[in-house]
């Protein structure tokens, strides 16, 4: 009888402090072997990371000059006179517009709405999208329709006959020609300039 009571009290006594003592975790400093494993792991991680970057670099397509995504060079004969109908270059998916008083702009020929291909309609003097009826001016500016913004442009470099050159600005405004003679136009179809709005 007495033994039973004493064991019960003992159990109570030993159980109470157990709850209070926080478990101590001892962390030993890494020894040489463990440290070398970490270094080895880090170098493997870096190697894999490097390989990942190399894989992306490998898989990125490359574009030759004259294929869509690369650079196109047009000589002056393919540049329209100011105000004339734009020149279409289907393999580059673009139109070259020469707007009177504004200058030269190269428009990406894909509608900003849902990706159809607007065509130049001479009688109406504007680009008209056959799908949902968006209309754009010769300089690519939005006129009407469901398109969210004006036509996108490609980064362009104009080389003039006097040896000077001019490049597109960040939003792809027409490049002023100001009476100079155009020698050639280089169009980088890998760099598309988006307008933010309908201007």
């Amino acid at each position: 009888m007495a033994t039973v009571v004493s064991t019960e009290t003992q159990a109570k006594v030993t159980a109470a402090p157990k709850e209070r003592i926080a478990p101590r975790v001892e962390v030993a400093a890494p020894n040489r072997r463990e440290f070398l494993y970490y270094i080895w792991g880090a170098s493997i991680a870096m190697l894999l990371g490097g390989s990942g970057v190399a894989l992306i670099w490998f898989a990125l397509p490359r574009f030759a000059e004259g294929t869509f995504g690369g650079t196109f060079t047009l000589d002056s004969s393919r540049v329209p006179v100011p105000g004339a109908a734009p020149t279409q270059v289907p393999e580059g998916r673009f139109w070259v517009s020469n707007v009177a008083n504004e200058g030269l702009v190269v428009l990406f020929g894909v509608c900003t709405h849902l990706g159809c291909l607007p065509k130049w309609v001479s009688t109406n003097n504007r680009f008209e999208c056959p799908c949902h009826g968006s209309k754009f001016e010769l300089n690519g500016k939005y006129i009407e329709g469901p398109a969210p913004r004006s036509l996108d442009r490609f980064a362009t470099t104009i080389t003039f006959a006097d040896g000077t050159s001019a490049i597109s600005d960040e939003i792809g405004d027409p490049i002023p020609i100001e009476g100079k003679i155009v020698a050639s136009v280089a169009i980088n179809t890998g760099r598309r300039l988006r307008r933010t709005g309908k201007n």
Binding site: I56, G69, T123, G133
Partner: protein
């Protein structure tokens, strides 16, 4: 004493006689192949008897064999029927294998190059025995798999089977549903028809919207192999479709099923106490053994599902194939595949980055972490009102977004484009432009007009046409050009159709179908008379080569004020006309042309 220097079959024969020796030999081979069941054990299982020897030979293949080691040796009685799981997880796995097998057959006749891919399709459909059958099965299986996998996810949500300890199983399931959608989507491009090219163009342009711009642009380049989809894009989608994504799918299917097995199939909620998970403790009287009952049922399901698919592709379903892909011609009303319509619908709400990228990503992440949000122990419906409401709200949202993704919703086409499209549409979605099925003999070179059918009486039609000719040639008093000159200049420059004069003739009464089409054209212009003010149309048929005709459709109308694609009306209810600085109306022209060859085989759509 052995006949040969080592123990052999011949000794057995000597000892037991030929018949007995052969039987024992076969029996041993069978037991080795089944990893534990001999002929007697198999016959007992087939006859529905209890196993006569111990240990139970029907558990042996699960312990020793490779194939059955991944299947449990028994299930709980409550999860072997149709309810509550509807066999959806099992069916998903079935379709993984079904698609792999039919896909391998198709790969034999397919080369992923824009130059031959479409021709390969035609060969598969017309020149390969059972080729069309295989293609239809593969396509139907893909659509069915998308539906089944989605329903599987829905069922798991409804019975709260994602709850502890199955949170990780649910997460791998979300990855699997994503892979299923992507597999189906990447297969879309391979036939290289118009449907393929444009549905994938729309889908892939989502990737391009990923912020920041440098990431989006490069992701797009990696996926499509160029700024737009061409030979590189087709090859990349093919490799993703037949190698990379299936490899991931098999891996995640393995992980997913392993988790299902170690946690057991979750029981119907009402069979357990709240917060309890007894799936792994199946009482003896609730056990259904894999051999023979579950195995039999699975073979039956394979047979029935395959039969349903075969019946469907034989009589009710054919995989669509539209015209050859043409990056220069966008079909009107192009949409993403139906299971991505919700993304397309969301896009109509506004920003491409927000709705096209952020919204689906948030949804995906939300689904993955959902079991860690809903940690309430009860799986009973009555205790899950909020969770079920969230589920139904998301479901309704996706359904509504999908509806909004339809081509008809929120996209206003200009009337001239729509009218022209009805006349010239390439065959797609069981529709074809009305000009295309006209018999070749009826297409006599000439210029026809819708004005002819404004005559009240058939006898007056010639008079009306002559009056129209006079109107075309009439020169404005203020020195403008005659209408005919405008139209000729337009056709010459914009359409490369050099005509010397615009002499309109009435449609010959013998050309019955051409007559009907021009009359229908006139009728459509009349319906759209508000937007196409004072409109008339021309159908110009020209001979290009022997056996090749060109048909031009021209519409001319007076421009009206439009606001967001809708006609603006004045107080009198008349459309407001746009006027130039002299107060004259502004004429507009639009035209499109198609070529018809003598051997072109276009049919009016059934029921059209």
């Amino acid at each position: 004493m052995s006949v040969l220097p080592f123990p052999s079959f011949l000794d057995d024969i000597k000892e037991k006689g030929l018949k007995r020796a052969v039987f024992d030999g076969v029996n041993e081979v069978v037991e080795r192949i089944t990893a534990g069941m001999n002929l007697q054990d198999i016959r007992e299982a087939l006859r529905g008897e209890a196993p006569s020897r111990k240990p139970n030979p029907r558990l042996q293949p699960h312990a020793d064999g490779f194939w059955l080691h991944m299947r449990p040796s028994y299930f709980h009685k409550s999860v072997t029927g149709v309810y509550p799981e509807f066999r959806l997880g099992w069916l998903s796995t079935y379709f993984v294998f079904f698609e792999t097998i039919t896909g391998i057959f198709l790969m034999v006749f397919y080369t992923p190059s824009p130059e031959v891919a479409y021709a390969n399709m035609l060969t598969i459909m017309s020149n390969v025995p059972l080729g069309q059958f295989m293609r239809d099965l593969h396509r139907l299986g893909a659509e069915a798999m998308v539906i089944i996998v989605t329903l599987h996810m829905l069922r798991t949500f409804l019975t709260a089977s994602y709850k502890k300890p199955r949170e990780f199983t649910w997460a791998t399931g979300i990855i699997l549903i994503f892979l299923t959608y992507f597999l189906s989507f990447s297969g879309y491009l391979l036939p290289w028809d118009q449907l393929a090219l444009w549905a994938v163009t729309i889908g892939a342009s989502m990737v391009e919207a990923a912020p920041p711009e440098i990431v989006g642009t490069n992701l797009n380049l990696l996926l499509r192999g160029g700024p737009d989809i061409g030979a590189n894009g087709l090859l990349r989608f093919y490799l993703l479709h037949v190698l990379a994504v299936p490899a991931l799918l098999f891996m995640f299917t393995g992980v997913h099923y392993y988790k299902v097995i170690i946690h057991g199939h979750s029981l119907p909620p009402k069979e357990e106490n709240i917060g309890e998970d007894t799936a792994k403790r199946v009482p003896l009287d609730k056990r259904v053994y894999f051999i023979p009952d579950v195995l039999t049922s699975e073979i039956m399901w394979i047979a029935v599902t395959t039969l349903i698919l075969v019946v469907l592709v034989t009589w009710f379903f054919h995989a669509p194939l539209e015209n050859h892909a043409d990056p220069q011609v966008t079909p009107l009303g192009t949409t993403a595949p139906w299971y991505f319509l919700w993304v397309q619908g969301a896009l109509k709400l506004g920003d491409k980055v927000l709705w096209g990228i952020i919204f689906p990503t948030v949804l995906l992440v939300f689904f993955i972490i959902w079991p860690y949000i809903d940690t309430a122990p009860s799986r009973r419906w009555a205790h899950r009102r909020i969770q079920l409401t969230v589920g139904f709200v998301i479901m309704s949202m996706l359904v509504i977004f999908s509806y909004m993704g339809l081509a008809e919703f929120g996209v206003v086409n200009s009337a001239d484009t729509t009218v022209m499209y009805h006349l010239t549409k390439e065959p797609a979605h069981n529709q074809v432009g009305t000009l295309r099925p006209i018999p070749f003999e009826e297409l006599q070179a000439g210029i026809y007009t819708t004005r002819q059918f404004e005559a009240l009486d058939e006898s007056e039609q010639t008079t009306v046409v002559n009056a129209f000719n006079a109107e075309l040639e009439m020169v404005n008093t203020d020195g403008g050009r005659a209408i005919a000159e405008d139209v000729l200049a337009y056709l010459g420059t914009s359409q490369n159709l050099p005509l010397s004069s615009l002499e309109v003739v009435p449609v010959s009464s013998s050309s019955r179908e051409l007559r009907e089409v021009v009359e229908g054209f006139a009728h459509e212009l009349e319906i759209n008379e508000n937007e196409l003010h004072n409109a008339w149309g021309l159908i110009i048929v020209t001979d290009v080569q022997d056996d090749l005709k060109r048909i031009d459709v021209v519409i001319r109308w007076e421009d009206v004020e439009l606001e967001n694609g809708k006609v603006v009306f004045d107080e009198a209810g008349e459309p407001v006309l746009r006027l130039d600085e002299n107060g004259n109306t502004i004429p507009r022209l639009n035209s499109q042309h198609i070529y018809i060859h003598r051997d072109s085989q276009y049919f009016a759509a059934p029921g059209a």
